[in-house]
C-alpha cells in the first residue's frame, strides 16, 4: 500500500513513455515491411496500403502512441531546463500549448487516415 507522498507523477509518465515506445517499435518495422513489399508504388500503392480498416487503426494507434511519447519527452526537457522560480508559469503554458497542438495533430491524423476511401 502506498502512503501519501510527492506528486507521484514520475512513474506514470515514465511508464507511459516506455509503453508507447514498445508499440512504435513493433509497428514501425511491420509498417515498413508492408510498405516496401506492397505491389504498387506511388499514389496507387499508398492508397491501397491505407485502404484496409486494420491499417487505418494500426496507423492511428501509432499516432496515439507517438504524441504522448513526444509530449512526455518535451515535458522532461522543460523540467530539466526551465526550473527557475519564475519559469513555473512558462512551463505550465508550454505543457498546455503542446497538449493542444498534439491533440490537433491527432484530429488531423484521423481526418487524413479516414479520407482514404
Amino acid at each position: 500500500m502506498r502512503t501519501v507522498a510527492g506528486a507521484r507523477r514520475g512513474l506514470d509518465m515514465w511508464l507511459a513513455q516506455r509503453a508507447s515506445a514498445v508499440y512504435m517499435a513493433v509497428f514501425l518495422p511491420v509498417f515498413l515491411f508492408c510498405a516496401l513489399t506492397a505491389p504498387g508504388q506511388g499514389y496507387a500503392g499508398w492508397h491501397a496500403l491505407f485502404l484496409p480498416l486494420g491499417m487505418k487503426v494500426a496507423a492511428l494507434l501509432f499516432v496515439v502512441a507517438l504524441l504522448p511519447h513526444a509530449w512526455i519527452g518535451l515535458r522532461e526537457i522543460f523540467i530539466d531546463y526551465l526550473h527557475c522560480a519564475r519559469c513555473a508559469l512558462l512551463r505550465l503554458s508550454l505543457y498546455f500549448a503542446f497538449a493542444v497542438l498534439y491533440l490537433a495533430c491527432l484530429v488531423w491524423a484521423v481526418d487524413i487516415l479516414w479520407s482514404v476511401r
Binding site: R2, A5, L11, W14, D80, Y81, H83
Partner: protein, 232 residues
Amino acid sequence: MKFRIYRYDPESGAKPSMRDYELDIDPQGKKVLDALIAIKDTLDESLSFRRSCREGVCGSDGVNVNGTNVLACITPLEGLKQPIEIRPLPRLGVIRDLIVDMEQFYQHYRAVKPYLINLDPEPENERPQSPEDRAELDGLWECILCGCCTTSCPSFWWNPDKFLGPAALLQGYRFIADTRDQATNERLDFLEDPYRLFRCHGIMNCVEVCPKGLNPTQAVGKIKTLLVKRAL
C-alpha cells in the same frame, strides 16, 4: 610538469581564476594528489584542497582533472595531458580553491534515510542475513560519498535542489535492497515523484567516473523496476 589550477579566495574579493604552475616532479608512480601536495609545499602554500587517507578510501579529494571527476589520490600523473587542469567538482559552491560546499550533496544523502529501519524488537546479538541476501548489497555499500558521480550528472546540474543525484539514489537502493529493512514502501513512495528519481535519464556519466567502479544507473533501474512491480 605543467599544471593549471583553479584558484578562488573569497576573502581577497578577486574573481576565480586559473593559475599556472610548473612543478619539477617525476610522474612515475605518482598521483595527482602527490603533485598537489608538492605544489603546496614548494610553490604556493596558499593552495587549498581536501585530502585525508590518500588512498581512495575516505573520498575527500574529489576534483575535476582535465574535465573528468576523479579522486586525486588514485589518479596517476602519468599519461595526463599537460597542462593538467585541476578544478573543483562542478556545480557545487566553491568555498576556496578546490574545496567545495558539500551541504546540498549531504542533504540528499540524509533525505534517503541511509540507515536500517526495522521496528522489530532488537535481537540479542544481530539481525542475520543469508549469504544470497547479503550479496544483493555488493556494489552498493562500497560508496564512499566522494561526490564524483553526482557532480558529473547534468540532471543534478540542472536541478540540484530537487534531483537526489546518483550517490543518494545508490544509497537509497542499498537500503531498499536490504532484506532487514522494513520501510521499502515508504522509501519507494519518497522516490516516486517527477524529480527525486525520475530526472535520471540513464546517460551513465556516474558509472563512468565512479572511482570505486560502482553502477548507480543500475541501482536507479532496479528502483524503477520495483516501482513498476508495485504499481501493477
